[in-house]
Subunit: 205 residues, 2 copies
Amino acid sequence: MTAEVKPAPLQLTERQEARRRRILHASARLASRGGFDAVQMREVAENSSVALGTLYRYFPSKVHLLVATMQDQLQHMHEALRKRPPTDQDAAARVAQTLMRAFRALQREPHLADAMVRALTFADRSVSPEVDTVSRLTTAIILDAMGLEGPPTPEQLSAVRVIEHTWHSALITWLSGRASIAQVKIDIETVCRLIDLTAPTPSSR
Amino acid sequence: MTAEVKPAPLQLTERQEARRRRILHASARLASRGGFDAVQMREVAENSSVALGTLYRYFPSKVHLLVATMQDQLQHMHEALRKRPPTDQDAAARVAQTLMRAFRALQREPHLADAMVRALTFADRSVSPEVDTVSRLTTAIILDAMGLEGPPTPEQLSAVRVIEHTWHSALITWLSGRASIAQVKIDIETVCRLIDLTAPTPSSR
DNA sequence: ACCCTCACTGGAACTCGTTCTAGGCTAGCG
DNA sequence: CGCTAGCCTAGAACGAGTTCCAGTGAGGGT
């Protein structure tokens, strides 16, 4: 009945690591073409030279696969952003700048963005751990941009969560054509004001 | 000509209106039981004594159906909220209070909430008009809670959008078990500070 | 060398959203 | 009345995600 799903080998062999990469690559490529719908499990399997069953051993569902794809992409983005950190004086401005930069990166592959974000918000409890990882990555990016010295206060963490919420949701409204880029920009800037509000760093502590 | 999709009869007969109600009712009932997955089109059709094809004539997809269900529920909630408007002195607090009240209402039927919200964020362009309606309803609720006198400024509208983003996204994280209610409350309260921040009201600042 | 385990393969099978078809019913109109 | 348009019904059919199964092969332990 309740099949005890293998907890996925913690240590992958080289061949397995290669398979995993091929799968993620195929997933991203298909997603770039036609978004969520274009990522068809059979096709991902074929394109990565892996049997369908194997694909499901690596990623137990399409949503898992796409969320993992997002993790992958976020890693890259995080590194790219690290290399050219925002320069603005103001923390809020730095965060807004960073997010808009990320936004423009996603704009270049709107279908891929669509697939990943849709998967992310469609994910149910069974994907929580993976979604959480994505969330932590996003948090890390924002905290980096804030460039604060000490550890963030609970207040700041809440502000960061709100910014993340806004970021995801704004992305969705843009992807589904219900908001313009200008509007997204304004909303991002609006929400980033919370940073100044929760951290007038210069004197306290 | 191009795709000849019936634009849905603008004026429904009484029997048709009754059918529509039955469908929405069945949809909500099934959703309350088991969330998104439990809303199966065949079953909705059976439970509302309507042929599958007819169901699809009324709601062209499962997502359309669930978004319409959400419209319906939001209407009710809006009315309920109107009857007992929040009392707090502070606009931000009133909005936070209202949203938490709505939140607790959704808590009572977490599966239903899950189904509706998942549908909402999963919706693609073809559902934009309906999603937009839901968005407008939510906006109306928030603006009501703000209780402002004149028309809202663009700044305020942006703040309201951000609050909506946060609301949806926080709801999702709670539904997928990645955030506690306490956390949602904090985040809602955090984002509501934007209201005071953008308000041209004759108070401080 | 031999065997055993276990991941991988190819493909069938099942579910559920969605579409399509053929026929029946109703309402309005001559 | 009888006719014509639509709307509705029952049910088959199709597509994509997911599961299952029998067989194969390669690495590790003996």
